[in-house]
Amino acid sequence: MLELKNIHGGYGKITILNGVSFSIPKGSITTVIGPNGAGKSTVFKAIFGLLNIHSGQVLLDGKDVTRNTPRQMIGHGVTYVPQGRNVVPQLSVYHNLELGGITATDQAKVRQRIETVMDQFPMLRQFRDRKAIELSGGQQKQLEVARALLLDPKLILIDEPSIGLSPNLVQEVFRTLVRLRDKGVTILMVEQNARSALAISDYGLVLELGQTRMHDEAGKLLADPRVGQLFLGGHVGGDAAEAES
């Protein structure tokens, strides 16, 4: 479904990705893990046309979509939820949601979906007419996640959805992703909350130093002791302790 071939790219003169390659099958959830600054978010930006790619290819269903603009990517059925806060501050919650479906031709359907996501995240209905900027951090994140569910995407790129969400809502988001996967949507997710994320994933991908290090079934990665030690905090590495002294 999505395939990256030896992507090199970065910001300005600094190269961040040094040959990222992987492919993910249709209708699966893949979780990307890796240390802070490994280039996870950068990979997403590369796919979605927000990064200066020096070389390599992004293929979507076999079609070359390297360096397509975000609008084109949406046209291909890809949506993207970036890391951090990404709402339109002075527009109301409802109008923020509406923007999530702005590219759809069938607006009636979008309105209907808005009702559905508002059922799923009741807070959104409660604060329907409030400005997005006035919401709390987690409420804004809910808004963002909900906003990504309004179209009929083939592929969802979702970067750390759990930041700021209360535990029950994290579970709710994961359940939603599983439901979508079961309907045939492909999901690529970055999560530091890696244990829970890998638990619902089909595949896991370890990224480090701008390169893919491991790519395997999620269960196998969870079981791998090296992964556990280095990225899942199973045990504090020697480095951190050394640095302190």
Binding site: G37, Q83, S136, I163, G233, V236, D239, A240, A243
Partner: protein, 248 residues
């Protein structure tokens, strides 16, 4: 019992009809690591902002080490030894990591005048570098903070709270986006600091594993009011908390 480091009495705050914080009172004692949890929008960040002078509360009092600090400006509070982080990333994007960290400490060294005529780094470079090394950011020392990844910025943000040698630190979601291994390091740092300097912490966090293993006591906020208070185990077992927050 000794005087509480932080004492919060009846804090109230509304935003045009929404009662974000609804008469919250609690005490934090020296050396405690207090967890503050609760559903999204329950008023945790607003409570922090009211305590620390970023927002004027509608009512209530705050005292630090027995001194009433209601209405005090954030910078003065900080000089009393109260540090904090924000929920949203807030580093200084166009300053290097080192400058970010030094800035966090410089106002605690010398007078206004000595800061003009004294050394450019206020004598803090070595200390800052140690802190940077601890968070494994040494190679990024001279990089602009704005071009770090989310998690790296979060670490810089946390590091800044320690620079001034505070006696009380309020952390708003320090774990969000931080890699689990680094997070374990952060936890260790907090505990060690707490043990060594007796520094008191109040931590807002949604990462339950982190909160439960770090905190000695936890307060649960819901719709602006405290609905539960207790040790991690008590909270984990509290049905009201499970319903409102933790989920099944």
């Amino acid at each position: 019992m000794s005087m509480p480091v932080l004492s919060v009495r009846n804090i109230e705050k509304s935003f045009g009809g929404i009662r974000a914080v609804n008469g919250v009172s609690f005490d934090v004692h020296k050396g405690e690591i207090l967890g503050l949890i609760g559903p999204n929008g329950s008023g945790k960040s607003t409570l922090f902002n009211c305590i620390l002078g970023q927002l004027p509360p509608d009512g209530g009092d705050v005292s630090v080490n027995g001194r009433n600090v209601s209405g005090m400006r954030a910078s003065d509070l900080n000089r009393l030894g109260v540090g904090r982080t924000f929920q949203q990333l807030s580093v200084f994007p166009k300053m290097s990591v080192l400058d970010n960290i030094i800035l966090a400490g410089q106002e605690h060294h010398g007078s206004m005048l000595s800061r003009l005529f004294g050394p450019g780094d206020a004598g803090l470079t070595a200390e800052a570098e140690k802190l940077i090394a601890f968070f494994r950011l040494s190679h990024l020392r001279d990089t602009l903070a704005g071009s770090l990844s989310y998690g790296q910025q979060k670490l810089v943000d946390a590091a800044m709270a320690f620079m001034a040698g505070p006696s009380l630190v309020l952390l708003d979601e320090p774990a969000g986006g931080v890699n689990l291994t680094m997070l374990a390091g952060l936890k260790e740092r907090l505990t060690a600091y707490n043990a060594e300097h007796g520094t008191t912490f109040v931590v807002i966090e949604h990462n339950m594993e982190f909160v439960m293993s770090l905190c000695t006591r936890i307060i649960v906020l819901s719709e602006g009011s405290i609905i539960a208070e207790g040790t991690p185990d008590e909270i984990r077992a509290n049905q009201a908390v499970i319903d409102a927050y933790l989920g099944g």
